[in-house]
Amino acid sequence: MKKAFALILTGVLMASPLTAFAEITENTDPKQGSTEITTQIAPAYIVTIPADTSVDFNTVNTDFGAVKLTKAQLEPNKCIKVTMTASGEMKNSADTSKVLPYTIFEGTADAVTDTVFTSAELASVGDKTDLTISISADDWNNAYAGSYSDTVLFSIEYADAQP
């Protein structure tokens, strides 16, 4: 019985929290004690991606908005990597075998670049990449009548920033 009691007491003692303070008395020298201030800040971010966009008939370049980092608390040397996956073909709603090719370039419609957008690394609030949907004049001319649509997929990844 004594043994059982001792074991229980040991268990209670082990479960007790350790002393979580420093004690300073008139005999302490120096009369100082240190406290560690800590906090853990989890990564947090908000990325905005383009909304649904309508492309007017025969328009070569149409603004597709931007991928943008609107809020971010990232670890140093980390970034948000936004990767886009797109088929590159809008499909006719009446006959999906009829397609209208398109390309998404970086830049606004007024200042579109030759860089095809595939991904972007955003590290600071406000970082963004403008996007433009481009359909060539030839493709417009060769397209069947009807409405076309496609869905592009944006994937967000918390990644190491490239040096």
């Binding site: 002393t19 979580a20 303070f21 420093a22 004690e23 300073i24 008395t25 008139e26 302490t28 120096p30 009369k31 100082q32 004690g33 240190s34 406290t35 560690e36 201030i37 800590t38 906090t39 853990q40 800040i41 989890a42 990564p43 947090a44 608390q73 990232l74 670890e75 140093p76 980390k78």
Partner: protein, 165 residues
Amino acid sequence: MKKFISVLSAAAMLTAPLTAYADTDLSAPGSAETNVKFSTSAGYVVTIPATVSLSEVTKDGADKGKYTNKGTITAKNVLLEENEKLVVTVSSDSGFKMTTGASATYKLPYTASTAAFGAVDASNDKVAEFASSKDVQKADVTFTTEVPEYAGIYSDTVVFTIAVQ
């Protein structure tokens, strides 16, 4: 002869002073004073927290997004001379800036403040003052960061110094 010597010895012992005594003759009516003196040195036990872990302020307001928490300083058995006080000050070698490590370039500023003495700065490092008392006395020190720019595990060390003033 032996008996005579021993009687003399006993008489000598009886006339020898046994203890120190006041030199006032109280055989006649009157009064006398005795000074009673003792001294006691200052004593106290002050406890400070080993760690203070800060949590995010999620409530809407000016502090939203900052990280904060209180650390309590406790003083007990404080015995001081009259008009003396036990003063607790705080300092930080980093200038109250937390980091994620020695190699980190970003530093997260934070403040230490109390309701009684306000924010600690270059002209004020006092965070608590305790008077002589048998009661347990407590003072809260609030640590609050700025809104951090980067995620990570941050830490810094502050030093509390006790002085009788």
